[in-house]
C-alpha cells in the first residue's frame, strides 16, 4: 500500500512561505500531477515527500505511516530530476546498478534486473558507454531506468520531459502513462506545462503561491475551475475572462461589459448562478473553443466585436476579437476563413459559461 497523505504541510524559507498548509491525499497506484507556475511550491512539496527537505510544520504519511523520522535514503522512493542528475563519472551500467549496490542487493539479482531494464529501455548497446557521450533522450531513459530498477512503490518525477525535443516528448508522454498503468506505482509528477498535466495525470493538484487552488481529475479542473487562477492557467489558449457588472434590468440579470455594451442571459444554468452572486462585480469566463462567431443579429446573447488578429497554428486557427477595452480569443479548428476587421458577434456557448466573483476570484454557484 503506497498512498501518500500530506497533512497541514507547511514549509518556510526565512519569511518566505513556499508551501502553505497543504492538505492532499494521493491514493495508491494513482498518477497525480502537481501543476503550477514557477515558484508556486510544487518542487518543494515533492522534495518534502522525497525527504530531501524537512517540513516546517505538518506531516507526510506513506500508507498511513508517518515519515518524519525516516531519512531520504530509507524512504524507498524513485526520483527523476529535471536535469536527470546522471552520475557523469560512471558508465550507464554503473548508473543503473547504483541503487541496487548501495542497498546491498545480491550480485546476480543486480545483473538480472539491470539487464531487464536495459531491454525495456532499449539501452543494451549503450550499457558500457560513458554517460557524457549519450544524447539528451538517452540520458532521460537512463535517469528513469536507474530509479525504476529499484522497483520503488512511489515514483516522483520533477519536470522530466521539459528538456526533450517536441517529437520525443510526445512519445515519452505516452510511454510514461503506459508504464504507470503497467507497474501500478503511485506516481507524483511535477510540471508547469498544463498540457502534460492534463494528458498524463489521473488527478491534478493546481498550486499557486504555495496554496492549493484545486484538486481534481483533468476534466473537472478544465471544465469546473474553482477560481480565475485555475481557469486562466488551464487550456491553451487560456480561458477568456471578461470583468463586468451584473445588472438586473427588468427582473432578469444582464452582463454589462461597459464600453462593449450589455448582453442578456438566456442560459438557465448561468442565470441560476448569477442569482447566487453576492456582489455585482463579476468576471465572465468563456473557453476559446466554446465561442461561436456569428453575424451580428439583434437578440442573440453575445458581444458585438471586431476581428483584430488571426493566428493560423496548423490544426487550429486562433481568432482575436476586440470590443472597446475587452479582447477575447476564439479557437476554430482547421483553416477558418475570416478577414481582419470583420464585424461579428461572439455568441456565448450554452451551458459552458463560467462566472467568478471579481474580488475573490472564486467561482460562483458551483455544486
Amino acid at each position: 500500500m503506497a498512498s501518500i497523505e500530506l497533512i497541514n504541510l507547511t514549509k518556510k524559507f526565512g519569511d518566505l512561505t513556499a508551501v502553505n498548509d497543504l492538505n492532499l491525499v494521493i491514493p495508491d497506484k494513482e498518477f497525480v500531477a502537481l501543476l503550477g507556475p514557477s515558484g508556486c511550491g510544487k518542487t518543494t512539496t515533492m522534495n518534502m515527500i522525497a525527504g530531501i527537505e524537512m517540513p516546517s510544520e505538518g506531516s507526510i504519511l506513506f500508507g498511513g505511516e508517518d515519515m518524519r523520522t525516516i531519512p531520504a535514503n530509507k524512504r524507498d522512493v524513485g526520483f527523476v530530476f529535471q536535469n536527470y542528475a546522471i552520475f557523469t563519472h560512471m558508465t550507464v551500467r554503473k548508473n543503473l546498478e547504483f541503487g541496487l549496490k548501495v542497498r546491498g542487493v545480491e550480485k546476480s539479482e543486480i545483473k538480472r534486473r539491470v539487464q531487464n531494464m536495459a531491454d525495456l529501455m532499449r539501452l543494451n548497446d549503450r550499457l558500457d558507454w560513458r554517460t557524457s557521450k549519450l544524447s539528451v533522450n538517452e540520458l532521460q531513459k537512463v535517469a528513469i531506468g536507474r530509479s525504476a530498477v529499484t522497483e520503488p512503490e512511489i515514483f516522483l518525477l520533477d519536470e522530466p520531459l521539459s528538456n526533450l525535443d517536441a517529437a520525443f516528448r510526445a512519445f515519452m508522454r505516452t510511454e510514461l502513462k503506459h508504464l504507470q498503468h503497467e507497474f501500478q506505482q503511485t506516481m507524483v509528477y511535477v510540471t508547469h506545462d498544463q498540457i502534460e498535466a492534463m494528458s498524463l495525470a489521473d488527478r491534478i493538484a493546481v498550486l499557486d503561491m504555495g496554496l492549493l487552488q484545486q484538486y481534481g481529475t483533468p476534466n473537472e479542473v478544465y471544465n469546473k475551475p474553482h477560481n480565475t487562477f485555475v481557469a486562466n492557467f488551464m487550456g491553451s489558449p487560456s480561458m477568456n475572462l471578461l470583468p463586468c457588472r451584473l445588472t438586473n434590468g427588468g427582473g432578469d440579470h444582464a452582463l454589462d461589459f461597459g464600453d462593449a455594451g450589455t448582453s442578456m442571459i438566456e442560459d438557465g444554468e448561468l442565470m441560476r448562478r448569477c442569482k447566487l452572486a453576492r456582489n455585482a462585480d463579476v468576471v465572465f469566463g468563456m473557453r476559446p473553443e466554446d465561442i461561436d462567431i456569428q453575424p451580428r443579429e439583434v437578440g442573440r446573447p453575445g458581444i458585438d466585436m471586431e476581428v483584430s488578429f488571426v493566428e493560423p497554428i496548423g490544426p487550429r486557427t486562433v481568432v482575436h476579437l476586440s470590443a472597446g477595452s475587452h479582447s477575447i480569443k476564439v479557437a476554430k479548428d482547421k483553416q477558418y476563413p475570416i478577414e481582419l476587421g470583420a464585424k461579428v458577434k461572439a455568441e456565448f456557448p450554452k451551458g459552458r459559461c463560467h462566472i467568478f466573483d471579481a474580488e475573490s476570484g472564486n467561482a460562483i454557484g458551483l455544486e
Partner: protein, 286 residues
C-alpha cells in the same frame, strides 16, 4: 537531512582546535609586539604569555630608532622599508595587472598570442633563485639595482602569470553577444573593450589587483637579491634587524611583523571568493 547532535559537537571541537592552532603563532607575535624589552626573553619557567606591562616602545623603536629600552645603534628606521614595500608592490601590481589584463582579453577574445598562455605559466614553475643571477647582473648593468623601478619591474613580471590567468577566466565568462551587440552599433574593438567589457569585470579587476598586491607584498627572496640599502622592503629589513650587538630584537621584529602581516590578511579576506581561482590560475572556480 539533519545531522544527529553528537556530530555537531565533534565538528565544533575539531574546528576549534584547528582555529586555535591557526591563531597561536600570530597571537604570540602580537603579544610579543607589545612586550617591553625586559620581557622579550624570559626564563623558561615563567613564560610571559601576556605582556605584564604593555608598551608601544617596540613600535616607537622601529619608527624612530630610539626607545628607553634599547639603545643599540641602528642605521635607519622602518619608515623607508614600509614605503619601499608599498611603492614596489603597488607599481608591480600595476604592471602585472595592465599587461595581464590586455594579454588575457586578447587571448580570450581573439585567440591570438600563441605561446603566451603557456609561456606565462612556465614563468611560475621555476624557483626565482634559479634565474636570479642573470637578472642581478642585468639589473646592475641597467643601474636598476636597489632602485624602486627595478624591483617594481621584477614584481610585475613575476606576478604576471596570476594576473593573466585570473583575468582570462573572467573574460571567458563575459557573454559574446553583449560585445557583438556593441559591435553591431559600430563600436571599434577597443571601444568595446573599454566601454563594455572592462566595466563589466570591474569588481574582478579589483580583486585581481588585490591578489597580486598580496603576492608582491609577501615577497622576500627577490627583494633580498635586488635591493641593498635604499629600497630594502619590510621582510629584508626585518631580517637585518637582529644584529650581533643586540642579538634577536624580538619585540621590535614582532611589531614590524604585525605591521607587515596586516595588509595581506585584510585584503585576502576581502577577496576570499576569488582566492581559489587565483591560486589555481583559473583552473578552478569557487
Amino acid at each position: 537531512m539533519p545531522k544527529p547532535l553528537h556530530s555537531y559537537i565533534w565538528r565544533y571541537a575539531l574546528i576549534l582546535i584547528a582555529v586555535g592552532l591557526a591563531l597561536l603563532p600570530v597571537a604570540w607575535m602580537a603579544t610579543m609586539a607589545f612586550k617591553p624589552h625586559t620581557e622579550w626573553v624570559t626564563s623558561a619557567s615563567d613564560l610571559h604569555w601576556w605582556p605584564h606591562q604593555e608598551t608601544w616602545g617596540n613600535f616607537e623603536y622601529i619608527f624612530t630608532g630610539q626607545t628607553e629600552a634599547v639603545t643599540v645603534s641602528h642605521e635607519r628606521t622602518a619608515g623607508k622599508p614600509i614605503l619601499a614595500s608599498l611603492v614596489t608592490s603597488l607599481l608591480g601590481t600595476l604592471i602585472a595587472v595592465v599587461a595581464g589584463t590586455l594579454g588575457a582579453y586578447a587571448v580570450s577574445r581573439f585567440k591570438v598570442g600563441g605561446n603566451l598562455p603557456l609561456g606565462v605559466l612556465q614563468l611560475r614553475l621555476f624557483p626565482p633563485l634559479a634565474v636570479m643571477i642573470p637578472v642581478m647582473i642585468m639589473w646592475a648593468f641597467l643601474g636598476a639595482m636597489d632602485t624602486w623601478w627595478g624591483l617594481s619591474l621584477i614584481y610585475g613580471i613575476v606576478t604576471l602569470p596570476f594576473a593573466f590567468w585570473l583575468m582570462k577566466t573572467f573574460f571567458d565568462e563575459v557573454p559574446r553577444e553583449i560585445e557583438e551587440a556593441a559591435l553591431v552599433e559600430g563600436c571599434s574593438w577597443f571601444r568595446v573593450f573599454w566601454k563594455v567589457t572592462l566595466p563589466m569585470v570591474k569588481e574582478a579587476l579589483a580583486s585581481t589587483a588585490l591578489f597580486v598586491f598580496i603576492l608582491n607584498w609577501s615577497d622576500y627572496v627577490i627583494a633580498l637579491l635586488l635591493t641593498r640599502k635604499e629600497w630594502v622592503t619590510i621582510p629584508v629589513y626585518m631580517n637585518s634587524l637582529s644584529s650581533a650587538m643586540s642579538g634577536q630584537m624580538y619585540g621590535a621584529k614582532a611589531a614590524l611583523g604585525l605591521i607587515a602581516a596586516l595588509p595581506p590578511v585584510i585584503f585576502g579576506i576581502a577577496i576570499q571568493k576569488y582566492l581559489v581561482r587565483g591560486l589555481t590560475f583559473g583552473a578552478l572556480k569557487q
